[in-house]
Point group: C2
């Protein structure tokens, strides 16, 4: 730690932790929260969180627009959720079977998600997507699964964005199509003819580092029709978007219902839980596939989920997050215009992305984010961001002040 | 609910929950905690847990010998663990990166586990075993993995005990051997020649519904030698046994150290966490394999793990659990002799199994367990059980009174 520049001094607790971590954790951190992938100045370690605010270990405060990359949907330390968790934990959490809260949660989910005749619970989004694929195969007796090129469905060999340690066989029965391109799905279905178990699709196209794309309603309807025609399962991977866009599932607004859906992220406001919902046809398959984990019946995260879903309904969380996302988006547009910078905003307002035009190397995006971070807002240059119900107008306006500094930095780069 | 027999009345809250669950959860419950697999009278739903005691939703109290099938190693509501969790949760849990507690935990684990040069964390035991296999492939550039016939390594297609929804390709590069049979490993390694990525092995042979087998030291040494000779990774699946038998890893007592190890279950006393530890050679591979999950950086379960490992060291948890397991085992032997019933006890004392001789259909085991349950002890007829540090002599003696009723029931079946 010989770098005594002002920036380094501001981050010295973070830097010291990174130095220690480097010795005992490969690359300093695994996975998507590795700050090495973020612009200069981003902290790796956090000391505190409350509502839509985060504090790093050096005491810097940020208005947070990542929400732990999705899980935090009501805001950190939501009182209704934390009270429910503590009440359940005081009774029992990880026991020899579930608590009654499992039944309450399952009934709530089946009541909330129109396509759901049943559900089951796990811990990771990847658990849920993997279970959906396995259930589809078990239920249809077929093997082929159509996957959109570039879509993220989890971090195990069948779907990982990295091919390190992956064998060809791990993906032997996947056939790719292009999101929002019905002809490519038809071609893939033709290739799978007679052996098509499922089409899996994300709620919208949220591939890293490119503009987000909402699903074309005709595309969504075509997927449903192809699955119906071929007897395959339509799997909606709603892990990232679920309960932020619509409480009944993100494709309710399109009027297209899946056979199986995977949820996680926002389901329990940051407590570890994921879920699979399914239609009657796949119920029997779900009794045959063996899917389980040591902590999957833990009662406290289920209590968190019941409270989270109840709060989201009570306050119409998706509408609030949409309004706040639209306020942020309008603010970005106004600031960009004022600074003479060309931006492109995409995605649902609750999960927005702002890219700079012609910014293939993310030089502008990184400069924007670094300057905005310095001024108190935690944005992301390449990945969709996340609003929460704890974001109020004053928080958005505070963040837009920080964004002003970001746009100024971009304008200076010119 | 028309069954008004005394047994049904005693379980009527449980029965009502099961009825409701049947509608919204396939088969009533997924996975290993499904009480449908247990003898008559076992509850599915639990209301409360404290130390080594569990209460079902009908108010029945049990001395617990399953400990949630392993996670609960210090006892439910261990004050040191719960205080650490609450302290961390009050600050922040699921944030945009880990808390400093990640570094503390990683350093603790690397200090505690002699083979570990580094570690990373996830949620499920299956996450950890899958990551080990993927890392071994990434690090060696090879594909074949030797797996013991019948060993349990998780619940996803490559390793699930069910084949529903599994394709041949999911297991294309697995070659089986027999536990404790070095010749079978040599033959499997020969079959994999030039393409051997790893041998994966459980800490002891704990296949369901048969006597447990401790690893023959010569077998363990042979696995190490074969991996060294072939340049493959020795993966110890210590998910079930880790931190109950030895804090440094379950094969420390054999003097055999793995290249990669998977931990979960007991690591955080019931809070959702798993870990991979590895040697230097696989550090770079661990930066290339993409393994992540929405809740993997959550700070509260890491605080639980730091506190759990610290408590286990402070009180020498493995020694205490061994002593209590031996007391239970001696009591079983004495009672069996008194009732003129032939039993076979196996496994490490901390994770014991008692089977009845000639009881292929588990008629005796089920009768024993049902009667003991009725008398206040929660045993398992076919799966290894788990002691915790919360079991004291009085608890074991109380459970042996219940076991007396169990042996009497078996003697009556005669």
């Amino acid at each position: 730690m010989d770098d005594l520049s002002p920036a380094a001094q501001r981050n010295h607790h973070d830097a010291a932790l990174r130095d220690r971590a480097k010795r005992v954790i490969p690359g300093g951190l695994w996975g998507h929260l590795n700050a090495a992938n973020l612009p200069a100045g981003y902290p790796q370690y956090f000391a505190r969180a409350e509502g839509c605010r985060l504090w790093d270990v050096d005491g810097r405060e940020f208005v947070d627009f990542m929400c732990s990359w999705g899980p935090v949907v009501l805001g950190h330390h939501n009182p209704a959720v934390e009270e429910a968790v503590q009440r359940q934990a005081a009774q029992g959490d990880c026991m020899n079977g579930p608590g009654p809260v499992l039944v309450e949660l399952a009934e709530t989910l089946v009541d909330t998600v129109p396509h759901a005749d049943w559900c089951l619970f796990s811990k990771n989004g990847t658990d849920a997507t993997t279970t959906c694929v396995t259930l589809a195969r078990a239920g249809t007796g077929r093997r082929k699964v159509l996957v959109a090129r570039g879509s993220y469905h989890g971090a195990v060999p069948w779907c990982s964005p990295s091919i390190a340690g992956v064998t060809a066989e791990d993906r032997a029965h996947l056939i790719t199509y292009d999101y929002n391109d019905t002809a490519s799905v038809e071609a893939a279905a033709e290739q799978a003819k007679g052996d098509l178990a499922a089409i899996i699709v994300t709620a919208f196209r949220h591939d890293m580092a490119r503009a987000l794309e909402l699903p074309d309603p005709a595309f969504a309807q075509a997927l449903r029709a192809i699955c119906d025609r071929e007897g395959a399962a339509l799997i909606l991977d709603d892990v990232r978007a679920g309960f932020r866009l619509h409480l009944g599932g993100s494709w309710e607004i399109l009027g297209v219902r899946p056979d199986l859906a995977a949820y996680s992220k926002a389901i329990a406001n940051g407590h570890a839980l994921s879920a699979v919902t399914g239609v009657e046809r796949f119920r029997e398959a779900a009794t045959k596939v063996f899917t389980t984990g040591s902590f999957w019946c833990a009662a406290a995260p289920m209590a968190a989920a019941v409270a989270t879903l109840s709060e989201l309904k009570r306050i119409d969380g998706p509408a609030h997050m949409r309004a706040m996302g639209e306020r942020l988006r309008a603010g970005f547009d106004a600031l960009a215009a004022r600074h003479g910078v060309a931006i492109r905003q995409s995605g649902p307002a609750q999960m927005p992305l702002m890219l700079f035009e012609g910014d293939e190397e993310f030089r502008f995006g990184n400069a924007f984010c670094s300057a905005a971070l310095e001024a108190g807002a935690y944005f992301h240059p390449r990945h969709n961001m996340f609003l929460s119900c704890a974001h109020g107008e004053a928080d958005i306006d505070r963040a837009l002040q920080a964004a002003d500094a970001g746009f100024a930095a971009v304008a200076r780069l010119g």
